[in-house]
Symmetry: C2
Subunit: 156 residues, 2 copies
DNA sequence: TATTGTTATACTCTATAACTATA
DNA sequence: TATAGTTATAGAGTATAACAATA
């Protein structure tokens, strides 16, 4: 049977006006919107968001260690192992020996890793255009500035 | 041994400048900052974020159904069952019979549920003050406006 | 046939803890 | 003693799929 309201005091949409009073709720909703589209974007490259971030960080900063990567990604070292394993198995990065400290690896992107990263980054930029199409340049700048103020407040 | 750099071309902090170019990355970082503090805030009430949202929605809109709640929370109906179970076990809400459709429940907060919700909401507002302390009134308004533009773009 | 709520199960992501090898 | 990386395991949170009751 098709849903049919005959008479009722109850509307059939939720009322989230109280939650909307919280900035955090609006932040979460927008974040989810962006993330959902980004996840779909990265699926074409068989990448998860964190794996993409890891690759970009390694490309951007050759010879970083796994512990530094864990710190940057805000995850545990044990989680980094799996991510680095995958990137290495796909020959996008290498674990290189470090002279003077045989405990650590210097992570470095391969040539194909760098090229791959460039392609994915282009797709990420297209994703951003898509998902931020309602915002003009000034709004995007203002948004990032405010977001960074929030992030800066978290550590104080 | 204390970590001691003698000489090295490699800085010991990560470089996320490439990721910072993506609005989504800044959005995620700020979201994580806010969420982490909110999770701690809600722990005192033995609530998870989604359970809190569910309670507020039910208080705000008496007699909504579980399916409507699932839609509003953007989760599956099966997940709502567990959340409603918990809220009901804690006597914060009731599952009431609906005349004319014996399949559905009308969810309604109890008196103590409403009072509890008010207390948690006050704590949530204090949390927001804390986490948004770096933003003035104008910035908060601008932020929500821009976030809502992003969210609106997701459905188009 | 379609929908609501339910259950059982599986999956994704991450944390925790214990371990090794090195420092 | 402390640190880097590793492994095994567990937990949180959610989705999927199948089901009974009802529409």
């Amino acid at each position: 049977m098709v849903r049919k309201k005959v008479k009722s005091a109850v509307p059939d949409t939720a009322n989230d006006s109280a939650l909307r009073e919280l900035v955090g709720y609006n932040l979460k909703r927008a974040y989810m919107t962006v993330r959902d589209d980004f996840v779909v974007t990265l699926e074409k490259f068989d990448l998860r968001v964190t794996t993409f971030s890891a690759l970009v960080l390694i490309v951007d900063r050759p010879d970083m260690t796994q512990s530094q990567l864990a710190e940057a990604l805000s995850i545990e070292r044990s989680g980094v192992v799996l991510i680095v394993d995958e990137l290495e198995n796909r020959e996008l990065i290498n674990r290189n020996k470090v002279e003077g400290d045989r405990r650590t690896y210097a992570l470095r992107a391969t040539l194909s890793g760098i090229r791959f990263c460039e392609k994915v980054t282009a797709a990420a930029q297209a994703h951003e255009e898509r998902v931020l199409k309602n915002l003009n340049k000034k709004q995007r700048t203002a948004l990032v500035e405010i977001l960074n103020l929030i992030e800066a407040g978290g550590s104080s």
